[in-house]
């Protein structure tokens, strides 16, 4: 992993004071504009309906209320949606990260006939965007009886090319001598993987867990095709349902959007460093 963080940076002596101040003001104004949509979601979610639908709206809510959250909870099984999203994201993380760790380890540390062909076949096939194979993917899922089931969302997207690639790149840098020494001491292959390779791979595991969770939590197109029963919906599907109503209750829509965003905001606050690393080192998003 390249060690890019928000804390590091090139330093050059600031000679032109006014220029610097102007740039700083521009950047701060831009940051306010960037944060505004999220503020607006929040402000809409916590203000009463009468305040939401105003031709000229005030930027600051005059009355604070939880009525939008109550309305959504009464009219839609939104707690079920939260549970569904959580189940899908957590199980997907377990399957994807374990499969990718095994696969990446093999491609980094084993030599076997057909290795390079398999590696490029897996990478190449997994690079296929799901949008391209939407139709055949839907048919395969249908044959396996996985339509309208959380497993139909989880399994087709469980193998991630970026995961295999990143794990391989990371594990190549683990010294062979370490593994050889353990083997000479009589450690089993299982023990070597669990006790030596995995503990050394903590940074890459963190990156994988965070990205996989984020991708599955935010997924929309594929669940939209697979899940038709409202009781099985994930939060993005629920959001789409509310937004698609004839006269959307925008207060309720923003309340649900806020709920769907909370885990992501939490992850951002705690694990921002890993998100930056993942993006800076491989350009994945």
């Amino acid at each position: 992993m390249s060690g890019v963080t928000f804390e590091a940076g090139a330093r050059r002596p600031g000679t032109r004071r006014t220029g610097n101040v102007l740039i700083w003001i521009a950047v701060v104004l831009g940051a306010l504009a960037m944060i505004f949509p999220l503020y607006w979601m929040f402000a809409t979610a916590i203000r009463p309906r009468s305040e939401v639908f105003q031709p000229v709206v005030s930027l600051i809510p005059q009355v604070l209320t939880l009525e939008n959250f109550r309305n959504v909870a009464q009219r839609h099984p939104f707690l079920t949606w939260v549970m569904n999203s959580t189940f899908i994201a957590v199980i997907a993380v377990v399957i994807t990260v374990s499969a990718n760790l095994l696969c990446g380890y093999v491609f980094a540390k084993f030599r076997f006939p057909g290795r390079d062909i398999l590696f490029f076949a897996i990478l190449g096939a997994l690079m296929i965007p799901i949008q391209v194979i939407l139709v055949p993917e839907f048919l395969v899922t249908s044959w396996l009886g996985l339509l309208n089931s959380p497993w139909g969302v989880i399994l087709p997207r469980a193998a991630e090319a970026f995961g295999v690639f990143m794990v391989r790149q990371f594990m190549v840098s683990i010294p062979d001598e370490l593994i050889e020494a353990a083997r000479l001491d009589g450690a089993s292959e299982m023990r070597i993987f669990l006790r030596i390779v995995l503990p050394l791979s903590k940074p890459i595991i963190a990156v994988l867990v965070i990205f996989t969770f984020m991708w599955r939590w935010n997924d929309f197109a594929w669940p939209l095709v697979v899940l038709t029963d409202q009781e099985l919906f994930t939060l993005p599907l629920g959001l789409n349902l509310l937004r698609g109503e004839a006269n959307p209750d925008w207060g309720g829509v923003m309340a649900l959007a806020l709920i769907s965003l909370l885990p992501m905001l939490l992850i951002f606050l705690i694990f921002q460093r890993y998100l930056v690393q993942g993006i800076a080192s491989t350009g994945l998003k």
Binding site: I23, P55, L102, M254
Partner: protein, 310 residues
């Protein structure tokens, strides 16, 4: 040592020197360990890709018979004005959103690479939308761009302007999408540029300053050329992203008004799940695959050269 050499020689005799690594490992172990991924990838990536080609040569409404159609789907595609319209929409969207997002990311990266108060916090703010789902982005944008109750028109009215029919007029729908895309992608571009900027040795700038080069000149003569690999990577990734965009547009405009923001992926979705033409939808998918694959191959070839910069 001797038994490993024997075992290895039966596998690949020419590379005896490298086989110390497969010391006492059962030969099938690696295959066993990649089996889970291999199964998933065969069932859900490799087979569907082959099957996409197969269906694209057939007519199928999902319920009825599968009938061979030869090249009929592709012939129809060439003559289908809606297909060309969707392709054009996708290209226009890419041309409008990729350069703006990248320029924004570059400016931010250069600005936020300088020392300034609250720099770390400011970077985080620009980066934050990266974790926001495309659906949430689209829904917040749809609400803000709402013609009657949206906050943007509200501000315009307050400043004495007229309400803009953002999402209900074909002329304004695409700019609305481009603005939403900018919001959600600019932090991503910024981070890639920041990583590249931080790998440029400060020595170059010190030397240039001693030679009397202005900061403006340093930017054009040092920074930009050294950022070229990052720029290329971002260009390809963003173009590929534009050709795959679905969620944001589905919730913001639904491809409308009319056909004005229907992209290729939208058209695939409509053909497959609205009008139940699996063969035709697959044919469009194959065309999209060829386009995306082309960009991916270019990226692979170039990213190998740019690895040490990122």
């Amino acid at each position: 040592m001797s038994d490993s050499a024997v075992m290895a020689s039966s596998v690949r005799p020419a590379t005896a020197a490298r086989t110390r690594r497969s010391f006492r490992r059962p030969w099938m172990l690696p295959y066993l360990l990649i089996t889970p991924n291999l199964l998933l990838f065969s069932a859900f990536s490799f087979f569907p890709l082959l099957y996409a080609f197969y269906i694209s040569f057939h007519d199928w409404s999902l319920i009825g018979e599968v009938t061979y159609a030869g090249l009929a789907n592709y012939r129809r595609l060439v003559a289908d004005t809606q297909f060309w319209h969707a392709l054009l929409n996708t290209a226009v969207y890419a041309v409008a959103s990729v350069p703006t997002t990248m320029a924004g990311g570059l400016l931010l990266a250069v600005a936020l690479n300088r020392r300034m108060p609250g720099r770390v916090f400011l970077r985080s703010v620009y980066f934050l939308p990266v974790v926001v789902s495309a659906v949430a982005t689209g829904i917040i944008a749809a609400w803000m761009f709402n013609e009657h109750y949206g906050v943007i028109n509200s501000l315009i009215v307050r400043l004495g302007g007229d309400r803009i029919p953002w999402l209900s007029s074909p002329a304004w729908a695409l700019p609305s999408l481009v603005i939403a895309t900018f919001w959600v992608r600019v932090g991503f571009c910024m981070v890639v540029y920041l990583a590249a900027l931080q790998s440029i040795p400060t020595l170059y700038y010190e030397a240039a300053t001693m030679d009397g080069a202005s900061p403006y000149r340093q930017f054009w003569k040092i920074t930009l050329p050294l950022l070229r690999p990052a720029t290329f990577l971002l260009l390809i990734l963003n173009v590929i992203h534009s050709f795959q965009v679905f969620d944001l547009i589905y919730v913001m405009t639904g491809g409308g008004p009319g056909f004005s923001t229907t992209m290729l992926v939208q058209y695939i979705y409509q053909s497959a799940f609205m009008t139940s033409e699996m063969g035709y939808a697959s044919a469009i998918g194959v065309v999209l695959y060829v386009i995306v694959l082309g960009f991916t191959i270019i990226q692979w070839r170039v990213s190998r050269q740019s690895e040490n910069v990122l």
